[in-house]
């Protein structure tokens, strides 16, 4: 095991996180006086003094940044404009809902997309193959909020099968999960197909076939692990799209997660909440990318050797 590869990747993740915090820090300062931006309009003079002291605004910029990072590490993101509640508390109530929806959507798109791609590769140029590839383009160009609204119109309003808003039961999960998953499912199928086709034409597969190897064994034991790398790449790069998409979809289905909180906070310019959510989402993205890089390293020894030696 090349420890160096994993260390390099972890270091990069830390640098990206650092850049993210620097970015948000400076965006806040470009707008002018952070105290004015972060405090509600009816704040008193004492509130201002307290806020400036808490975030060290009377100190030099570098020290301000230090205080800023320290407060974040303590989970102190300030207080919401709207109701004065602790931002950390508000977010930690909503975060599990978003993680649950995101996780299920990713699992859904992989569990459906991969087998479809494998099927398409094994039945190349058949009707099923064409159909699956057609849905890939469909998924990419369909605006996900429109798809969600269509689902509500059909399954909630006309057929009364599924609830259109909320997050209480499995039935509530179904439509938002499929809507978020749909947009990526097609592209997973498409990449799985081309990766499988690429591997299936390799000499070792032909040899296995010539030796009379069991077809299932050949596909799942020989071909799939070797096709896994491009597939993992696509899944890794699409997580960002899905997070962005889930923000919209949480609003369509009134899902009480942080995506919905983010949009309503942006609308009323509740900056402490916005800032905290952006940093948490960015952090989640960094972790997801790190996970993908680790998966690479485990899947393909060549990657961890060459990248580690750099």
């Amino acid at each position: 095991m090349h420890v160096k590869y994993f260390l390099v990747k972890t270091l990069r993740a830390f640098i990206t996180t650092f850049l993210l915090v620097v970015f948000v820090f400076f965006v806040l300062r470009i707008t002018g006086d952070p105290a004015q931006a972060m405090l509600p309009d009816d704040a008193t003079e004492e509130d201002y003094i307290e806020f400036r002291q808490l975030w060290g605004l009377d100190k030099p910029l570098m020290e301000q940044f230090y205080v800023y990072c320290k407060n974040f590490l303590h989970g102190d993101f300030g207080q919401s404009y709207k109701d004065g509640r602790d931002v950390f508390e508000i977010i930690s109530q909503r975060l599990p809902k978003s993680v649950w929806l995101m996780g299920m959507s990713i699992i859904f798109s992989i569990v459906v997309g991969l087998p479809l791609g494998i099927y398409a590769a094994l039945h190349r140029n058949s009707f099923g193959d064409r159909f699956i590839m057609g849905t890939a383009v469909f998924g990419f160009s369909m605006p996900n909020f429109f798809l969600g609204i269509m689902f509500i119109l059909i399954f909630s309003m006309k057929l009364h099968w599924l609830p259109s808003a909320g997050s209480d039961t499995w039935l509530h999960l179904l439509m938002p999960m499929i809507t978020i998953g749909m947009t990526r499912m097609g592209s997973y199928a498409r990449y799985t197909r081309s990766a499988m086709l690429n591997v299936l034409s390799k000499p070792y597969i032909i040899t296995a076939k010539a030796k009379g190897a069991n077809r299932n064994r050949m596909v799942y034991l020989h071909a799939l692990p070797n096709a896994a790398i491009p597939i993992v790449t696509v899944i890794g790069t699409s997580i960002g799209h899905m997070v962005g998409g889930s923000v919209v979809i949480e609003n369509v289905f009134a899902w009480p997660g942080i995506g919905r909180l983010l949009v309503s906070s942006v609308a009323v310019r509740d900056l402490p909440v916005v800032q905290a959510i952006v940093i948490i989402m960015g952090l989640a993205m960094v972790l997801a990318n790190l996970l993908v890089d680790f998966t690479y390293g485990l899947l393909d020894p060549r990657i961890r050797v060459t990248a580690g030696d750099k």
Binding site: F23, N251, S265, Q275
Partner: protein, 305 residues
């Protein structure tokens, strides 16, 4: 693949040199276009014409309210209203006129955003490739950073802090996807630098700006055009998503996203107020994606997947 390439070159040669007559030349070009792509082109052309001549097409003023005639059901959807082809919205405004105005706004904003992204991303990629060293490192670090922060989240952050107006919004959309152009143009410029022609032009004393814009850019334009056609639908989706959330195009102006968002509330009775804008977005992005895929396969057979 190779024979395809040769055939393409031959057709290109014949077309360019005028060996083939006027009519057969067109026929040759069109014979190669699949019917599906023809449909996509027709739809996009239609959208383009609507966007450019929107004032001539709109039967009413898109802002004019008629509170006595709210949510009118048009004849084609089984109603009684014959003056408004697609009925009226919740404030009695002519829906067809609003749809036409929205098409114009959405396409215009997406188009400007696409151009800004292409220029910004390509320029940064060239700068990184030209200066190398720490400039290169810094730009590539920004590219990596952009990959880890979804555009949607970035846009919401910026809108929350700086507020929103049309020009600002267009430039914000211009950030979406710049990292892809930068990464691509940097790679292509790096390989072009070592090509004979670039070395020769540099030694003849051409300035770097001239070298990149007049010589390297035309040589890499094929791949950039492909990226352009794939970036445009992404722009439409980004704009309509933000407008759908009420954070993009602001009233009194209207975009396909905000139209859909307003139509949502009346889905039980006037379903077309939400479905028609949605379908318009879908058909436009779908046409552009299919066209982009086809252009990629036709322009350069070597980058075929």
């Amino acid at each position: 693949m190779m024979s395809d390439n040769v055939k393409n070159e031959k057709v290109k040669f014949e077309v360019l040199s005028g060996v083939v007559g006027q009519e057969t030349k067109l026929q040759k070009v069109f014979r190669k276009v699949p019917p599906m792509i023809m449909l996509c082109m027709a739809w996009l052309l239609f959208m383009f014409i609507v966007a450019v001549f929107w004032e001539q097409f709109a039967p009413f003023d898109y802002e004019e309210q008629d509170l006595a005639n709210r949510l009118a059901v048009p004849k084609i959807f089984g109603g009684t209203d014959t003056t408004h082809f697609l009925g009226t919205d919740s404030l009695g405004r002519d829906f067809l006129s609003r749809l036409i105005r929205s098409i114009r706004t959405s396409l215009l904003v997406a188009f400007c955003g696409t151009i800004i992204t292409a220029i910004l991303g390509t320029a940064l990629g060239f700068v990184a490739a030209h200066f190398r060293g720490w400039v290169d490192e810094a730009i590539m670090m920004m590219v990596d950073f952009q990959y880890s922060l979804p555009f949607m989240i970035l846009a919401l952050l910026v809108i929350a802090f700086f507020g929103n107006n049309l020009v600002f919004f267009v430039f914000l959309l211009g950030i979406e996807g710049w990292n892809k152009y930068a990464r691509m143009s940097r790679g292509m410029a790096l390989s072009a630098q070592n090509n004979g022609y670039a070395v020769a032009i540099r030694q003849l004393g051409a300035s770097p700006v001239r070298l990149y814009t007049k010589h390297i850019l035309p040589n890499v334009s094929n791949i950039l055009i492909v990226e352009l056609t794939l970036n445009f639908p992404a722009k439409i989706l980004a704009e309509t998503s933000l407008s759908f959330l009420g954070l993009g195009i602001q009233p009194p102006d209207t975009s396909l996203g905000s139209l859909l968002s307003f139509g949502r509330a009346y889905m039980m009775t006037n379903w077309w107020l939400a479905v028609i804008p949605g379908l318009t977005i879908f058909l436009t992005t779908l046409s552009m994606c299919l066209l982009g895929d086809w252009v990629r396969d036709t322009i350069d057979p070597t980058i075929r997947k």
